[in-house]
Symmetry: C2
Subunit: 489 residues, 2 copies
């Protein structure tokens, strides 16, 4: 891959990055959301995008290419003039039309040369978006063709335009991973994960997570990744935590046309709303009944503005969370707002070893937010550390006070388990946890005890706990002496 | 109690209501947030409150009473002129000052007559806010004095001003319940739950829930309840789900003065922010660095505007959720954003029988959002229904297909358990649940099976399940035959 992306800060597998866009002479801060602009009509005028915090947009070069008038205008005046936007513009190639209609009348060479000629800042070859549930043979054949086109793309003269290398592979993780590795080996610049739209549209977030994590394994950490078609703000935090850097949203405008109103917890319909559950300028200054009464164009524009405000605020919230080190807390809050996102989050946590390798070790505060928090990478990392610690003589692990009967006393804190004295004030062991801990939290703590006991087979260990459930106590090694403390601290 | 409150719509113990305020000739829609205005200075000009959606505000009659100039102005021009707000104004009495400084120089008669004279729309007697952790004797003595003052309040001539009857009782639920019952027996109008501020300030939400639920048991459903001092938007949904109708926020302004920035997931500090994680007009139009650079007055005003926008949007979100029947989903999303709110939510679910009696039976869609969802009132209600159902012969409860070997086949769906055929398309059995169900969800389903089996001891019941954990299978009655289906549907 080329070298246009720099990671500034990391949390879980999510990161804040700088994407250098040489043609626009701009640096785009990621994660970034690119509003999709249809060259034929504008729902929100692109020259107003900056007021929403938009740094880059995306449009479709194939639509321009196919329209004689737009094509001539783009060739003479340039893409930025056609769209009416000064900042960086990424262009798609017609792959979406290929997926929808089965055929398009342009080759990768032609469309890349066209994108270069009209001044696109990031161009795209014509890859083959395979339907998610296609069989292995189809996926393999399609993928071979996509990879052939990436080779062509790398050989076309594209001046200083960045060029994308889409990663396909259906819902077969091994092929997605291989496709990621192949794409990363090219000299191309930005790596869209393609053909996940049907999964996103059907709320199949667990499948999305499997495919993105597979593609990321192949691509490696350094590649800037675009999750193509992920335009709903409820999905951004989960996608960002996997290490997706760019998102595009046609949803802000398409949903608006159908009276649909985006929130970070799902979609609502204008017709069902008596009040706007949002603080954006549109929702602060209007009532739903007003919007129902205005002409369709105004209604669509105002709904699109709301949808874009909400989406951009979520992107800022994600970047803030990455800086804080609270991205997984944000993902967890979002996951517990929609059952299918919960599936996505639970699937992400199955990849905890992978997340753990990218996660940074010091953050603000670990929040235990649900039984799912017991499976976070920070818990795993603490358990791995316990494997390497030595304690001699007799050791008390307690939720209460130190006790002179024992050579050493350590605190015991679900979900982590034993807390070595030198670490009580370091992340994540300063965690805020609910007083009403759940069983998975206690079970994780028992796992921590087990790891420490196994690393110190000669040490006599006593666990003094208040109200651990039987299921957690049963997980403790047989050699451990169990004592029960009174309920109140 | 008097009759100024009408409930329009209900969800869990939360409700949308109309509070008639006769002196202002207005009806205030609840849940409502009343910004606190200090008579001495304005952070946001009250004549701009309407643009934020504020319908009523609250100020302190004691502060006006004590200030010679303000007092004279209020007597001659009226309270609304002093404050600069046309809508309903509620007034506090000095109880807060009593709690802070131990003594005030006004009696309940005097302050209620003063509030009446200056034109307050809702007046307050001087109750005794007992410190949360005071012993039973102190709480009992203070409560007797508060109740004596409520008697006085009911006897003072207050014209058509509404008068509040504060409910005290420390952290002793039996006394809170008794205080609620006594308050409800007066002729007074609005029922503030007092002295929870120290609990709220220390994030002791489990204690807040215990005290509010106790007060509500005493007050009954019909009483309009004000949760005094609950000004952080992260707490509104939980409080609303218990049936609190009015909130007041000094936080919007006080926090702003200290550079603190409210969100529904907690508090941030302006100095820590590189970007604003919010879509409100302030956050859309400014960068944190700009706010750090302006003069203190402008900074405080803009932060207060943000804080108020976020707070009012959460109130609209709560009212929308009550209309939808998705209030518990909102509470659950909020609870899974902060560990101490999770404690509050888990405590609320311990009162599931009480919630269940107020909950309405038909809503939009039940979302299973975490292991905690297994304990929601809808699950309990379904289990209670299973007690009353009769099935004869052989019954298959299955996560798969019907089977001719059995006289009857019913679906089996965690967390509910057996789904009678006539109910598959009714709330809550249309629930959206994650594919990766958690153990508490399966255990709840096993409880449903048990209830049905116990109601039909002669029926032979077979459970055909895909991947129930041992802990759930162990909860099934011994008479049940267990079959295992393949993993994929």
């Amino acid at each position: 891959m080329a070298d246009s992306f720099e990671i500034r800060s990391q949390d879980a597998s999510g990161r804040i990055g700088d994407l250098q866009v040489p043609r626009a002479d701009r640096t785009v801060r990621t994660p970034a959301l690119l509003p999709v602009v249809n060259p034929h009509y504008r729902t929100i005028d692109p020259d107003r995008f900056e007021a929403f915090g938009v740094e880059m947009l995306i449009t479709n070069a194939y639509i321009i290419y196919q329209d004689e008038e737009l094509r001539a205008q783009a060739k003479s005046e340039g893409l930025h003039e056609v769209i009416g936007f000064d900042g960086p513009i990424m262009t798609d190639s017609g792959s979406f039309q290929l997926a929808e209609y089965g055929d398009i009348s342009v080759s990768t060479e032609e469309i890349l040369s066209f994108q270069t000629a009209i001044g696109s800042d990031i161009g795209t070859p014509v890859d083959i978006p395979t339907h998610p549930d296609a069989d292995r043979e189809t996926v393999t054949t399609d993928l071979a063709e996509t990879e052939r086109r990436l080779e062509i793309a790398a050989s076309v003269e594209t001046e200083d335009m960045l060029v994308t290398a889409p990663v396909q592979g259906g819902t077969l993780p091994d092929l997605r991973e291989q496709a990621g590795a192949t794409a990363a080996e090219t000299e191309l610049d930005v790596f869209p994960i393609g053909a996940v739209v049907p999964l996103l549209n059907n709320y199949r977030y667990a499948d999305v997570v499997e495919q993105v994590m597979a593609a990321k394994r192949g691509l490696g950490t350094a590649a800037p990744v675009h999750l193509f078609g992920a335009g709903h703000p409820m999905t951004f935090a989960l996608a960002a935590a996997m290490g997706c850097d760019l998102f595009d949203s046609a949803a802000y405008a398409l949903f608006a046309r159908e009276g649909r109103y985006l929130t970070v917890r799902g979609t609502k319909h204008l017709e069902d709303l008596q009040e706007f559950p949002c603080s954006c300028p549109v929702c602060t200054n209007h009532e739903p009944s007003e919007l129902r009464d205005v002409d369709e164009e105004t209604r669509t524009r105002l709904l699109a503005e709301h949808n874009l405000h909400v989406s951009m605020a979520e992107i800022r919230r994600i970047r803030s969370a990455i800086r804080d080190g609270s991205l997984l807390e944000l993902v967890e809050a979002r996951a517990h707002a929609h059952p299918s996102l919960l599936d996505g989050y639970r699937t992400l946590l199955e990849h905890v070893e992978h997340l753990e390798t990218h996660d940074r070790s010091s953050k603000s505060t670990f929040f235990y937010l649900s039984a799912d928090s017991a499976h976070r990478p920070e818990v795993l990392r603490h358990h791995d550390r316990l494997d390497r610690l030595t304690v001699e003589g007799s050791l008390l692990l307690t939720e209460g006070r130190a006790d002179d009967r024992f050579a050493t006393t350590w605190r015991l804190k679900p979900p982590f388990g034993p807390i070595p004295p030198g670490l009580t004030t370091t992340y994540p062991l300063t965690a805020e946890v609910p007083e009403q801990m759940d069983t998975p939290g206690y079970v994780a703590a028992a796992e921590g005890v087990t790891r420490l006991v196994e690393a110190n087979p000669e040490t006599s260990v006593t666990v003094a706990q208040r109200q651990w459930p039987d299921r957690a106590l049963a997980k403790l090694p047989e050699s451990v002496t169990i004592e029960r403390l009174g309920r109140n601290p």
